[in-house]
Symmetry: C2
Amino acid sequence: MSSKSQARRAQLREKLVEAAEVRIDREGLGELRARDLARDAGCALGAIYNAFEDLNAIVMAVNGRTFRALGQAVSDSFDGSEAPVQRLIVMSTAYLRFADAHTNLWRALFELKMTQDGPVPDWYREALAGLFGLISEPVSQIFPEMKREELELMTRALFSSVHGIVSLGLENRISGVPPEQIERMIGQVLRQIGNK
Amino acid sequence: MSSKSQARRAQLREKLVEAAEVRIDREGLGELRARDLARDAGCALGAIYNAFEDLNAIVMAVNGRTFRALGQAVSDSFDGSEAPVQRLIVMSTAYLRFADAHTNLWRALFELKMTQDGPVPDWYREALAGLFGLISEPVSQIFPEMKREELELMTRALFSSVHGIVSLGLENRISGVPPEQIERMIGQVLRQIGNK
DNA sequence: GGCTATTCCTGAACATGGTTCAGGAAAGGA
DNA sequence: TCCTTTCCTGAACCATGTTCAGGAATAGCC
């Protein structure tokens, strides 16, 4: 066995992912540099490529963490006592707060796949499915008459809508739309949808 | 005067923007190369930087065209006889069709600003305002009781929602969501919102 | 038309940044 | 202890945006 090697390798992977997370959070995905990561992790430039396939793989690892944290934030946001529409609003607000607090990390979640040609990785699909699971419950309470397929579509549609509002809302942060306004937009849309 | 110079310069600019548009449309923004553009336009590499500040400026010019074409597609999509909700759906469908037909060009519209730090350019703001103008009319018919500020927010919210649905819908094109499903999601959300 | 100043074009060179690789160091096994 | 394997190192490689010195074309003027 090669426990020492393995351990060191794992430690390096951890340090690299940690460093990448900090740098992406602070500067954005576009400012991530292999040489900076090597310095942060105290390893040689080439060592990165021993621990990971390439820089992308590190970003993927960061995205995995981010996605888990995001899912956690959303599932921690409600206690189950809310009315369905209210719960959707609360969850969406948690989504907004997370995106606002970690805009660069959250953006990296979507920037990477846009650029890449390869298929969406499994963990991404699963994480998204997890989020959808949280949403589909209140959605099916709001629309008890809908069939499963239509409910799935509606769940996806609502998630996408909130994502769009947050995404465009945070985009021109400098020039407009403060988070409270974004929150109001989310409320407008979701409440309106609840008013059948 | 320097009519001949000016004309050639203008012609080069045109050829570069044209070439960039074709390449972005076909390969995506990420595959755009200065050297390819120079070859396409039949000029030297350095000549690009005489006609434009940098590559970004060319992409901006392409984005300007794209945005105009998108606005045209949306405003051509309705004839004014539709009921308000129906008009929103028709416009959104036009947006979807455009995004589906020219996904890479449409994505470039949003990818650039995300990466850049500078403020959003004026033409972008104006073009978006133009789109919002088209949307706000049916929105104010649907919500006659709303004040201007609330209407503006709702307009923005609905645009963002449709954008989000289209954006996430087209993202994993390979693995899921065909355009008809995206269209159904748009219909679900907008019709639901119209059902006050 | 000829002459000079200016402006533009050219492509080699530069800067940056991801990735590779030959050579040496460390770990594992006997 | 010695050999094998594995890993680490950082210099070099390659791609790509951008610049720049030198030459070509153009403009203005007589």
